[in-house]
């Protein structure tokens, strides 16, 4: 069945073209043996009756026209078993932790099929990450895909680790709420990888984790399969083994670079900034593999991390991602340089699924209103900061000064909690009320009167007012 060809006609970048005399399936796996006996794996990108284009995962260097090409007759499969938990694998799914071989219960194609929208269950279970700027303002729910938009040099990894460490579903008690973490690294440096691995080992999280590691010096093309392997594993654990799986993919920017590299090698008509025109579809095929399915207990929640080139939110990678994912958590360079941890800017951040995941019985009845009021007040304070630079604080009204103070306190007390602090939702909301009580009751126009009665402490406002006059 496995016929060998020695018919390579062209080698270009990550691509190899070979002539064939029997039909080869699209997406089929290929093994190429170089003259010195090395085996490279690849995948069919285009198949015609005369030739095929093959994308080689491990790089084409060392391949020559005499190399032999073998088509395996199947698409790329991921070996799956619950025993994968605790293992470290390469970017193409080979164990690299020196442990035993994987004995799969099942193999599945990594491409994955779309979940039928009628079979999905709408995600609305609150995940407590212990991070106020997320739980309070941009709540994550089970089955959501919520990326972290970051920039080079920002501590997105620390935030991702903090979430992985602290994420629980409070109402279910301790046992049921542990997440299995699948970590898919694409093109990150060895140092970053160590940071993750050390943290996993320190906290004992490795036992319930599966790590896929494609490092910066591993072949770029391999990056295109790493997230698919990770997600195939996640779907298996979630929908067959009833785990709640948290998938962290980092760094999506490297993934997209790899896509562009392949596109360029195939001489495709490029879309924006040289990225392929099908990048939206391609990214959607990854991000959409999050969710819940009716009648199954597990779930897949995704936290992809991407570094925005030049902190530019309109760059195609964050832009297309934002159109597919259910919100984003935005890291901010200014907040970072002021030393706030985690430096999350809540204003451009968003969680689309939050409205159904919060409120009475889920978090707290006043949550939605408090969040709206915080957003409005912080946005107003931010606006006034621009103004204050021009006219100075004295020129502003008492009301405006309050908003300025609020914005400062919001950052230092609400956002800046440190990467080791784990706040439960009540604590987060109580801090919020502490801050909102700076304002007179009439300013809280987004909050239900009953909630104001219950949580608003007037004395704080007065005490604060005295403080201002004392200044």
């Amino acid at each position: 069945m496995q016929k060998e060809y020695k018919t390579i006609t062209e080698i270009s970048g990550p691509l190899v073209f070979a002539e064939v005399d029997e039909p080869v399936g699209y997406d089929e796996m290929v093994e190429i043996e170089t003259p010195n006996g090395e085996t490279r794996r690849g995948q069919v990108l285009e198949s015609t009756s005369e030739f095929v284009a093959i994308q080689v995962f491990e790089g084409t260097s060392g391949i020559d026209k005499q190399s032999s090409v073998r088509f395996l007759g199947e698409t790329l499969q991921m070996p799956l078993t619950e025993d994968l938990l605790g293992r470290v694998l390469s970017g193409s799914g080979e164990p690299i932790d020196g442990g035993p071989d994987i004995e799969p219960d099942e193999e599945r194609p990594i491409v994955g099929a779309a979940i039928n929208p009628t079979a999905r269950e709408y995600p609305e279970e609150f995940i407590q990450t212990g991070v106020s700027s997320i739980d309070g303002m941009n709540t994550l729910v089970r089955g959501q895909k919520l990326p972290i938009f970051s920039g080079s040099g920002l501590p997105h990894n620390d935030l991702a680790l903090q979430i992985a460490r602290q994420a629980t579903v409070p109402e279910e008690g301790d046992d049921a709420s542990e997440f299995a973490v699948i970590f898919g690294a694409m093109g990150i440096t060895q140092e970053e990888a160590n940071e993750f691995m050390d943290d996993f080992e320190r906290t004992g999280a490795l036992e319930r984790s599966i790590v896929f590691m494609n490092l910066a010096d591993d072949p770029a093309v391999e990056r295109t399969v790493t997230p698919r392997m990770a997600l195939t594993t996640a779907e298996y654990l979630a929908f067959e083994e009833d785990y709640h799986v948290l998938v962290i993919l980092t760094d999506m920017t490297n993934y997209c670079e790899a896509l562009r590299e392949i596109g360029a090698a195939r001489e495709e008509v490029p879309g924006r900034r040289g990225y392929p025109g099908y990048m939206y579809t391609d990214l959607a095929q990854l991000y959409e593999r999050a969710g819940r399915i009716e009648g199954r207990d597990g779930s897949v929640t995704q936290i992809p991390i991407l570094t925005m080139p030049g902190d530019d939110e309109t760059h195609p990678i964050p832009d297309l991602t934002g159109y597919i994912t259910e919100g984003q958590v935005m890291m901010d360079r200014d907040l970072h340089s002021q030393g706030y941890e985690p430096p999350v800017n809540v204003l451009p951040s968003l969680s689309r699924l939050m409205d159904d995941g919060i409120g009475e019985g889920l978090t707290r009845a006043d949550h939605a209103d408090v969040k709206d009021q915080l957003f409005a007040a912080y946005a107003e304070g931010e606006d006034l900061r621009d103004l204050v630079n021009i006219v100075g604080r004295e020129a502003l009204s008492e009301r405006d000064n309050k908003y300025l103070d609020f914005a400062d306190r919001f950052e230092t007390e609400f956002v800046d909690q440190g990467f080791d602090a784990n706040r439960d939702i009540d604590e987060t909301l109580d801090i919020a009320w502490e801050l909102l009580s700076m304002f007179p009751e009439t300013e809280l126009n987004r909050i239900d009167e009953e909630a104001i009665e219950q949580y608003y402490h007037e004395d704080a406002a007065e005490a604060d007012a005295e403080e201002v006059t004392a200044d």
Binding site: Y26, E28, S47, I115, Y122, G277, E288, T314, D356, L387
Partner: protein
Amino acid sequence: MSQAQETDTVENGVIESVSGPVVTATDLAARMNDVVYVGDEGLMGEVIEIEGNITTVQVYEETSDVSPGEPVENTGEPLSVDLGPGMLDSIYDGVQRPLDVLEEQMGAFLDRGVDAPGIDLEKEWGFEPTVSAGDSVEAGDEVGVVEETVQIDHKVLVPPGYDGGVVAETHEGSFTVDEPVVVLENGEEIAMRQEWPVREPRPTQEKETPTTPLISGQRILDGMFPIAKGGTAAIPGPFGSGKTVTQHQLAKWADADIVVYVGCGERGNEMTEVIEDFPELEDPVTGNPLMSRTCLIANTSNMPVAARESCVYTGITIAEYYRDMGYDVALMADSTSRWAEAMREISSRLEEMPGEEGYPAYLAARLSEFYERAGKFTNINDTEGSISVIGAVSPPGGDFSEPVTQNTLRIVKTFWALDADLAERRHFPSINWNESYSLYQDQLDPWFREHVADDWPEQRQWAVDTLDEESELEEIVQLVGKDALPDDQQLTLEVARFLREAYLQQNAFHDVATFSEPEKTYRMLGAIKTFNDAAFDALDAGVPVDEITDIDAAPRLNRMDTTAEYDEFIDELEADIRSQLQEKY
């Protein structure tokens, strides 16, 4: 006719090459846009290019593992939808396969090579003829009625293209959609099901100027930038600015008879939300479940790209079918950018010469063809129906100068510009009042005068002027601070703040606030105007601005939105505002 019959002799071909969703075949005798079944698994596809002996096919399903040499089977038919009772309360993929049937057949994940008819061929419907033997009917005429849902009577029409003539027999009772229910003397049989090619508009008699608003219950839309029944609107906005929530609100509350919601290349969870929410929601007018007037088409972003290209056509053809029955149909397409990108993706696989930003040169033509299928029409059976089309646009980076937004704006007459800044401060719906426009205002004002209030247009104009003035003043405030402004301008800013926060903002997730009927919209704006007028009177009488804005009644303006019994509430509020301000002087 003879030529058509010749091509009807279907000849099958052989796959020559496979590259993603694009497959070429040799020896396939097919016409442009014929539907073919590709490979051993019979994946559905459509012919999109013929060159010599090579036919190019876009495949509506994943093509992994398909190899050259496998057969391609031609159906000889263009891509068509099944039209008949059973489409409402359904959810389809981009080529009208019912998703619930697919779930039964292949489980939670969408597999390939499974086909299912768009409407249930087994189910029997109670047919009641409205013609009797001896009556004469033409194409498009109504011959009977089926109760499709509690809300919608499905009218069975003589399919366009039939010769028509004298009715020979009618059958009353329960039938499947394929059984003839009316037979004409010339032998033509009429069943409840008919087919129509999606890329061809269904015939009409005449297009008319729309004069009735499509009431959405959203104040910024009805009150500021209304769309007509039969009109077109675009909602462009960057991600996170609330396109989908706005579209959902329209689908829920618009006063159309039928709603066709096309989720084109968007999120799976969002479609699930619609599927879960709509059956539980009630139509505010009739109290019936919303699904009883709704047809959903869901092609999520990870479903095959070619089916994304076809889903808007599937949607509009279904809309036209209900329009032919004399209904007002509203079609929401979320998002047309994904549709355009699907065109771009297919075009680039064909190695066509790209136009702007890689989009094919025919982008503008396709968009205008699509929006032209909207409108208020006199149907061929002399009834009147309309299709309103509301298309979301997702411009990359929120930049409205990109080709899809620009080409759409050249066609549509209502523009609801979503604004990332407003969204960031959680001002929802985050429609920018300075940039948005509606060209239907003049056409619709007579309706508002007659049905809501005689000074509706004047009151709206006052709000527009105040907001305009605010945006000019804001520029000065940015430089010198608010306290440096004269008193009257400070007061204008306060009034504008109430317009923004109490009137334009509307909480889609609050039970009461989510829908605001035109009367409430009018009263709310009236209350703010009352405050404005009384406040300026007080200012003229020498009352300082601080004291005016400090009155107890003013913050109650913000509670109007969430008050169900708004009439009494606003009566009392207006009286309080007047008396509290008059006390000051």
